[in-house]
């Protein structure tokens, strides 16, 4: 294949406008769109900010169409998310699993491994948690909780490994296999809850309530905020240190940039892919344990509700940075929390949350492309 053409050179024939149809929009007199060579983090930040402003504009329009003043809507959203101490704490409750599923996606995507199976690995983690609970009921509380988190991480990692082993061994597309595995684990859970693990007291698909000693401690009595948040934040720090400060982290990032070059450098791409999927699956699995032990206390089918998929969106909006994932997850948690208040207060449907998520991601993606270009004043040649 040909070498990458340097498109910032003086050669008139390689006008970047030829490459990108969008650029043709900007081919006016005196200005042209050209490829940047140096994309600095600050450009990314401006672009993301611009994307969020555009999102707010589009959402305002939508809200106006529904017949509500955007000011009322956003005020109501804000009050629901951060307006009071209770609301703020509840926002963190919502953000807790999202931080973990967001990290799960970010780790995998950074290595160029498209793990779309966060949702399934979350369920695998919840199954692992309950399994350990059934297996080791006699363990003292702190040990049992730790064992359950380990069980969840292992279960999530194993479930993700089904996809990565197939990818490394047979070259099957991990996007497709992880999507399939999401369904398989959901049906396995549904089967477990309809028979082997079903609580005999109810006709519903759920287990018995767990023993109170397994409940994660809460920070304050009057809020649901539990220690799962600490686990999530610790995971974010761990992911940051792993990717930035260790040799393995270097390998993880290297295969994401260029698999072939990484292989030439002596990095075993296959082994790294398996490692990164295991880490990613483990993070999603831990999210499952956190929700089970911190909030639900019984295994049900509706404990995920799209948390895995939202995690993917969060990772992408955060441009795959661990710290960014924490920030975006809290923002999304606030969105979910605030939208409930908004629906009650202004009648705007809760589904606006998903619209906001989708629109924000679309604009962030477009902005990421846009910040690779710049408008330049051209000197006319004759």
């Amino acid at each position: 294949m040909s070498e990458r053409v340097d498109d910032t050179g003086g050669d008139e024939r390689t006008d970047p406008a030829d490459r990108n149809p969008l650029a043709m929009l900007f081919q006016g007199d005196g200005w042209r769109l050209e490829r940047r060579l140096d994309t600095r983090p600050v450009h990314e930040m401006y672009a993301t900010l611009a994307a969020l402003v555009l999102t707010a504009l589009i959402i305002s329009l939508l809200v106006i169409l529904v017949g509500v003043s955007p000011l009322d809507a956003f005020t109501s959203l804000y009050e629901g998310a951060l307006g009071s101490r209770e609301a703020g704490l509840e926002t963190l409750v919502q953000a807790t699993p999202l931080i973990l599923t967001g990290l799960a996606a970010a780790v995998a995507f950074r290595s160029g491994v498209w793990n779309i199976g966060g949702e399934g690995q979350f369920f695998a983690g919840a199954i692992g948690t309950w399994w350990v609970y059934e297996l080791l009921p006699g363990l003292p509380a702190p040990l049992l909780i730790i064992a359950m988190f380990v069980g969840a991480a292992v279960a999530g990692a194993l479930w993700a490994s089904a996809a990565s082993v197939l990818l490394v061994r047979y070259g099957t597309n991990e996007i497709l296999t992880t999507v399939m595995l999401n369904f398989v684990v959901l049906y396995i859970l549904s089967w477990l809850l309809s028979g082997p693990w079903q609580s005999p007291k109810t006709p519903y698909f759920q287990t018995e309530r767990m023993d109170e000693k397994t409940f994660l401690p809460r920070f304050i009595d009057d809020s649901r905020l539990h220690w799962g948040l600490l686990v999530a934040l610790a995971a974010a720090v761990a992911v940051h240190l792993l990717t930035r400060r260790t040799g393995l982290g270097f390998e993880l990032r290297a295969i994401g940039v260029n698999k072939r070059a990484a292989a030439y450098k002596g990095i075993s791409v296959g082994r790294t892919v398996i490692t990164v999927m295991a880490i990613s699956g483990a993070l999603a699995g831990i999210a499952g344990a956190g929700e089970l032990l911190g909030l639900h206390h019984r295994l049900q089918l509706d404990i995920a509700e799209g948390l895995g998929f939202t995690g993917i969106i969060i990772a992408l909006v955060a441009r795959l940075h661990p710290a960014g994932v924490v920030v975006v997850a809290i923002a999304f948690g606030g969105l979910i929390n605030g939208a409930t208040n908004m629906q009650v207060g202004t009648g705007i449907p809760f589904a606006l949350v998903q619209v906001i998520e989708g629109v924000a991601l679309v604009f962030v993606l477009l902005a990421a492309v846009a910040c690779r270009y710049r408008l330049k004043r051209t000197v006319r040649h004759g």
Partner: protein, 315 residues
């Protein structure tokens, strides 16, 4: 159990198989065309939801189910257009764009639905007079086969007809072959002067319109209503069927019928209180899809440039 009863149960399963397969087949054929051009559209679930709702909205406002189908196709096509802009023009990562539009389609459909119909505060779900099954004259008189194949909905006939149409389009027409070559080797096509972007637009918009129609089958033929969980994973199943069918129209038909059959069987089992773990039956097709992916790897028909954006002069 007497013979007549067994016969009618089994016949019922086959009739249900074809019905359940319909939306899957329509969406999967559309996705086949889109993927043939090298663009993986992961937003099928959201596109089906949007089509199901826009179809329902148009049908209930205009009073015409047929206009509803047009509305569904347009709703799906619009999301497809957005996907095409993002992937064919701006060349954003296809997986990411697909997931973004998926959530946008799902959220958009529910948001729109709630803002149109919840304002009145009615408890009853709004509904339309749904499509009736249309028996094909003469053919529907054939015993068993007639009932299974020729006493179905209009959209079912449409889906079945689209199987050979899609096959012929992709394998026997110039435009379709060009589309497939783009999916395999865009660079070579570009050198030959085959316009890539316009064909990808066509393919992805067509795929969106088909997904919209698949969604409309659920809202206009099956339920006569729209409700938030109406698609219930069928978009993802349609995606699985394309893979299971190894990107060939005939096998996609087989895959849709297999998914339909397993679903119909588990429904019948549940209804007759047979104590079988029906969930494992439901999980089976997804496992089979993975197995098919592994087994077909040496003769896989997957478009080689699937998910890889094409930049002229770059690699």
């Amino acid at each position: 159990m007497d013979d007549f009863f067994t016969y009618s149960v089994i016949l019922g399963i086959f009739v249900a198989t074809v019905k359940i397969a319909t939306p899957l087949l329509i969406a999967a054929l559309g996705e086949l065309v889109a993927e043939s051009s090298g663009i993986l559209n992961l937003s099928l679930e959201g596109t089906m939801a949007l089509g199901a709702f826009s179809g329902f909205l148009v049908a209930s406002e205009s009073g015409s189910l047929w206009l509803g189908l047009v509305g569904a196709a347009i709703g799906g096509a619009l999301l497809g257009l957005l996907m095409a802009v993002m992937t064919a023009t701006v060349k954003v990562n296809q997986v990411v764009a697909g997931l973004a539009l998926n959530i946008l389609g799902l959220g958009g459909a529910f948001f729109w639905y709630r803002s149109v119909y919840d304002a009145g505060g009615t408890i009853d779900l709004p509904s339309v007079e749904r499509f009736r099954t249309a028996a094909v004259p003469l053919l529907s008189d054939i015993p068993a086969v007639g009932e299974i194949l020729f006493e179905q909905h209009w959209l079912t006939y449409f889906a079945l007809v689209m199987v050979p149409v899609t096959f012929v389009f992709l394998n026997r027409t110039k435009y379709g072959l060009e589309l497939r070559s783009i999916g395999h080797n865009p660079e070579a096509c570009d050198m030959r002067g085959v316009g890539i972007v316009s064909r990808q637009y066509f393919a992805v918009i067509f795929g969106g319109a088909m997904a919209g129609l698949g969604g409309a089958f659920l809202s206009l033929s099956e339920a006569g209503q729209f409700f938030p969980d109406i698609i219930a994973g069928r978009g993802w199943i349609a995606l699985a069927i394309v893979i299971f069918g190894n990107w060939r129209a005939s096998w996609i038909l087989a895959g849709s019928l297999l998914f339909g059959f397993l679903e119909a069987t588990q429904l019948a089992l549940q209804a007759s209180n047979v104590n079988l773990p029906y969930q494992l039956l439901l999980a089976l097709p997804f496992v089979l899809t993975i197995v098919a992916l592994v087994l077909n790897r040496s003769r896989s028909q997957v478009p080689l440039a699937l998910t890889i954006p094409y930049h002229r002069g770059e690699r």
